[in-house]
């Protein structure tokens, strides 16, 4: 865990998709060990907010501050402590789960000698041992999702951004995910989860309902 002490602070964030502002005036503070649950109706901007936090989208207004400095100024250092699980699993049909995870660990710049051990641990955390050497094209949607989630364990980063992580997961695997999140938070990690199905994030998880930050449909965008 790199520098879990810094807080992530959002100040009056607004996000624009095309011609529409999906939300505005959104602020929160996320400290070490904290969790944030994003809820809201479809299209209320849960995914957009996660992509803003992952620096894929630049906020239309407002600031995102990590520690004392804006996130843009930190650039790669900020991104290096993020893990992102989006709608898509990022799993190539021609590779095996073991290869997918080993590739991700390598991308995180972890030296080669440590890779096999980390990959084994990640496979075990989501019970993928049995299918570790199958091509991913044979795997079910739930199994692919578990590969995406196993990335979180394989190359740990201090802030997890999870977009509907429980989709396609069965009950047992949802508990595995909740356990992984609990362990992550216990060691000072942070999570931001967008979900509309119930998920247990543990104690002191703040909930942010994005509909509260929506703008009326006829709201005129300045600039």
């Amino acid at each position: 865990m790199t520098e879990p002490a810094r807080d992530l602070v959002a100040e009056a964030l607004a996000c624009r998709r095309g011609e529409r502002l999906v939300f505005a005036g959104l602020s929160f503070r996320l400290s070490a060990g904290g969790a944030l649950l994003l809820t809201g109706t479809n299209g209320s901007g849960k995914t957009s907010l996660l992509r803003v936090l992952a620096t894929f989208i630049r906020p239309a207004e407002g600031r995102l501050i990590w520690g004392a400095r804006p996130v843009e100024a930190e650039g790669a250092a900020y991104r290096a402590q993020l893990d992102f699980v989006g709608h898509q699993d990022g799993v190539k049909p021609g590779l095996t789960p073991r290869e997918v995870l080993a590739f991700w660990v390598a991308l995180r710049g972890i030296e080669r000698s440590r890779v096999p051990r980390l990959v084994e641990a990640a496979l075990a955390a989501f019970a993928l041992d049995g299918v570790a050497d199958w091509p991913c094209r044979w795997l079910s949607a739930g199994q692919r999702r578990r590969i995406a989630l196993a990335r979180l364990v394989a190359a740990p980063a201090s802030m997890w951004l999870l977009d509907e992580p429980t989709s396609a997961l069965d009950h047992e695997n949802q508990s595995r995910l909740e356990r992984a999140i609990a362990e992550h938070r216990a060691s000072g990690g942070r999570v931001v989860v967008a979900s509309h199905s119930p998920i247990d994030l543990g104690v002191v998880a703040a909930t942010l309902t994005l509909d509260a930050f929506a703008l009326p449909p006829d709201y005129a965008i300045a600039g």
Binding site: A76, D83, G90, R108, G109, E111
Partner: protein, 221 residues
């Protein structure tokens, strides 16, 4: 460095494993060259004169064929998001992908070209120049192509948009590549052409990763 090699290795194994890209590209290259004698007639003098041009054009089209896959799969399955969060600056990630693309397509094209040159009856000296020109020219095809592939991500008919973007940019390598073979008839005449081809590849190496990375960031929004 581990990240760069990891990405290079994965892309290469994907290209070779699925029996996909490399086989397809080479098949297209060979067939396209074989088609020409049927169209222009089998006279050796004609073929000898236009042979190098045919092989270069066929190589351009074959390289083009595989370009849409360069970022498209990663874009669709979300791995592009992960690439931007990796330890690797996006510019270097582009470079790793281009290197893998070149080893999986450009290099096999260059290696096959001497056999195809025999089909169009080039003399041994010209065959050697053709091989060298493809060897130093194909990296430019992968690199220039990466910019177009990144720009056309998410377009409705990506393949067509990509071709329109990239074919005009392929004109300089084509001119100097085919020109090198033509000039080789004169003693030492090919040297200048090959050097310019090297320069084009080096310029592409310096410029294209930045342009592609910028286009990819745009595509992620």
């Amino acid at each position: 460095m581990a990240a760069f090699l990891g990405l290079f290795r994965r892309d290469l194994s994907l290209a070779l494993r699925q029996g996909g890209d490399t086989g397809l590209v080479l098949g297209f290259f060979v067939l396209a060259v074989i088609l020409f004698p049927f169209g222009v007639g089998p006279e050796p003098e004609v073929l000898q004169r236009i042979g190098a041009g045919i092989i270069w054009v066929a190589a351009l089209l074959a390289a083009l064929l595989s370009l849409d896959r360069l970022f498209e799969a990663d874009y669709r399955d979300g791995e592009l998001d992960l690439l931007t969060l990796s330890n690797l600056p996006l510019e270097l990630a582009v470079l790793a992908k281009c290197a893998a693309h070149w080893v999986a397509t450009g290099l096999p094209l260059a290696l096959t070209s001497p056999f195809l040159a025999l089909l169009v009856d080039l003399d041994p000296g010209a065959i050697a120049i053709l091989f060298v020109s493809l060897l130093v020219g194909t990296p430019a095809l992968s690199l220039i192509g990466s910019v177009a592939a990144a720009l056309s991500l998410g377009a409705r008919r990506q393949g067509v948009v990509l071709s329109l973007l990239v074919l005009p940019l392929y004109i300089p390598p084509l001119i100097f590549g085919a020109g090198a073979v033509e000039a080789s008839a004169v003693d030492g005449g090919a040297r200048a052409y090959l050097l310019i081809l090297c320069a084009i590849s080096l310029a592409a190496l310096a410029f294209c990763p930045w342009a592609s990375a910028a286009a990819l960031r745009q595509a992620l929004e």
